[in-house]
Amino acid sequence: MDFRVGDDEHELAEGVRAMVAGRLPLEHLRANEGAERAIGAGDWTALGETGVFALTLPEPDGTGLGMAEAVVVFEQLGRALVPGPLVGTFLAASSGMIEGSSDGRAQVGLHCAGPGPILVEHLSSLDGLLVLPAYDRRSTPRLVSPAPEAADATRVTEPLDPLTPLWRLESLPAGEPVADAGGRMMRDGSLLTAALQVGHAAEALDLAVAYAKERHQFGKPIGSFQAVKHICADMLVRAEVARAAVHAAACLADAPDVVAFEAEGARRTPDELVDRAVMGAKLLADEAALANARAAIQVHGGMGYTWEVPLHLHLKRARVLATTFGTPAEMALAVSAFA
């Protein structure tokens, strides 16, 4: 067993980080705040060409990697606040759905059906829309393709996240059932969403620590005060614990033999064990992202409350992601059965 983040994974993460920093820096992405399209077609293609949607596709179409590598990559996308239907497009690409989903020519949205109003993200950019209910392996994902016409929906004028445009629909077309062996879409989608959340939690931490070192009050950096230090320490704890959970769940998803071994000891089915790990990871990652974004705003004081400082974007995106594949409250309820 070697559960360290390995050299290959570090390299992969660094590659994605460098590409995003070069091609999709935050000031560039922020130019689309409030726009109908959160990410331009050219930017999306540039992202797709790096292979982030085709990581688990077998070669030669993809890179034949596992979910362990995918979560490392998606953490970087979360850190950089890359907008767009990242998870839906990854799931479509992995199942060979929608021409162009694997290489950045198509955007595939994701809608997790629930009791609330039907709010679809990125609608006018979509080539297809995957519809999944909250975490439940027994349900069948459906694909609406082409995606509903934006013209038939009402665009939300004041979306929470300025980089996640929303459309309100009265109803969704039923779409076609999608073959989904063993509920993999639910599992992988939840994992990738959790990985994005770890990225938000980690970036909020880094921003808070950098600010605490540089901002002086009472003649000292505010990071020398224990009250501020302890906020930062707690942020690190939340991020590290959530990251370990996401990585472990991804490793279990990749290694059925480990799962079978552990399941025997725990008197559970392998599927139950993976679900437990994935839902637990999503729960902790949601909470880490939300709590760290809030804590980072607090460390920044008044500046944290401004539009200019990007912490509100992490907080708002974290809220969007926390409602995808089940809220923290729903995840906690589901995981309790494994006590």
């Binding site: 559960f3 070192k213 690190l236 480990v258």
Partner: protein
């Protein structure tokens, strides 16, 4: 990252599991908590049994007489022992985890030969004399004084939070031989039968005497019992800490998972699981303990490659201690008035509630954010050493 165990790690687990299944049933009846003589005998018998089977000092290097197991094997050892319900390390704790590793790293050949085999074979018990009434989190301010008198040090002062003092043969003792601060401290081996040692048991909130305070009145300790150079004791102590391989809380973590399962079943029997709020709190603890188990594997993997568990130790302890307390608090709520005593009580279904076990676990959890570095000190360590924030002292 890979959670798969290698073939040799699996073989180690299988062999150990078989041995535990045969051996542990002979240790089912732990002695009463306050019967120190019986506890000493029980724990030493377990240690001797481990020794005879080649499992003594699994984490000790081979040159110290240990098994020299890899960090992953150490993790497997602790995991399997806990799952098999094997006895805890108990009175052997200081010898196996602190004093022994220190003597291995810093002791003379004569000291190693004198002290190490007796620890491994379950013949001698050690206790720790580090903290003082006025030197807790600020350990380096300790004031117990050692003055040279020929071939002896004459030691006067007081030590506190000393576990197993009543039944220990030796004490790893930090004393002041020089100036104030870290550079004036020495590390001594104090025989507990030396004249001038008074042991006063300290009653904890559990009602038992888990710790003692030591009063040292001109205790003579041979200079030959010093480990490391005079005034180099702080560094010697830090070397011991570097033996930690990220497995320090494996037993406690797995115990929390088991207690959570017990509490869930009791809540079910009491008809409380219709309460979604309660179930969410339980689910949260399931997720947290699972994540901490993953973090343990991460820290152990880090230690396997670099020799130290990296940044994980303090991170783990901060999170674990708080979740263990949350578990204790929740168990008390679930048991309601049944948590008002430790006497065995039955539920309405006539089955045991396990209230005594949960009550004792709750007590112990309260100490987790205090012992071995308070959570406040741990946060300072995380902020300064990991995040690089400016030192405040």
């Amino acid at each position: 990252m890979d959670l798969r165990y290698t073939a040799s790690e699996q073989a180690f687990r299988e062999e150990l599991r078989g041995w535990l299944a045969e051996t542990v049933p002979g240790f089912r009846q732990p002695p009463p908590h306050d019967d120190w003589a019986a506890r000493r005998a029980h724990d030493l018998r377990w240690q001797r049994t481990l020794f005879d089977a080649g499992y003594a000092g699994v984490d000790w290097p081979a040159e110290g007489g240990g098994r020299g197991a890899s960090p992953v094997e150490q993790l497997i050892f602790k995991e399997e022992c806990e799952r098999a319900g094997a006895p805890y390390v108990g009175v052997n704790f200081v010898g196996l985890l602190h004093a022994g590793p220190t003597v291995i790293a810093e002791g003379t050949p004569a000291q190693r030969e004198r002290y190490l085999p007796a620890i491994l074979r379950g013949q001698e018990v050690w206790c720790q004399g580090f903290s003082e009434p006025d030197a807790g989190s600020d350990l380096a301010s300790l004031r117990t004084r050692a003055v040279r008198d020929g071939d002896d040090y004459v030691v006067t002062g007081s030590k506190i939070w000393t576990s197993h003092a009543e039944v220990a043969d030796f004490c790893e003792l930090l004393v002041r031989t020089g100036d104030e601060g870290r550079q004036g401290i020495s590390w001594l081996i104090m025989p507990m039968d030396s004249p001038g040692i008074e042991i006063r048991p300290l009653r904890t909130i559990e009602g038992t005497t888990e710790f003692a305070q030591l009063f040292l009145n001109a205790v003579h300790i041979p200079v030959a019992n010093r480990v490391g150079e005079e005034n180099d004791g702080w560094r010697v102590t830090m070397v011991t800490l570097s033996f930690e391989r990220g497995t320090a809380f494996v037993g406690e973590l797995l115990e929390c998972m088991r207690l959570l399962g017990e509490m869930y079943r009791v809540a079910d029997r009491l008809g409380l699981l219709g309460d979604d709020g309660l179930r969410r709190r339980i689910g949260h603890l399931v997720a947290a303990f699972d994540a901490l188990w993953a973090l343990t594997k991460r820290n152990v993997s880090e230690a396997a490659q670099t020799g130290v568990p990296g940044i994980g130790g303090s991170v783990f302890k901060l999170s674990f201690s708080e979740h263990a307390q949350a578990l204790g608090d929740l168990s008390m709520e679930v048991l309601d008035r049944a948590a008002l005593c430790a006497d065995p009580l039955l539920g309405p279904d006539g089955e045991v509630l396990g209230n005594g076990e949960q009550l004792h676990a709750w007590f112990k959890s309260i100490n987790l954010t205090i012992a071995a570095g308070t959570s406040q000190v741990q946060r300072n360590i995380v902020a300064e050493r990991i995040l690089g924030l400016p030192r405040s002292r």
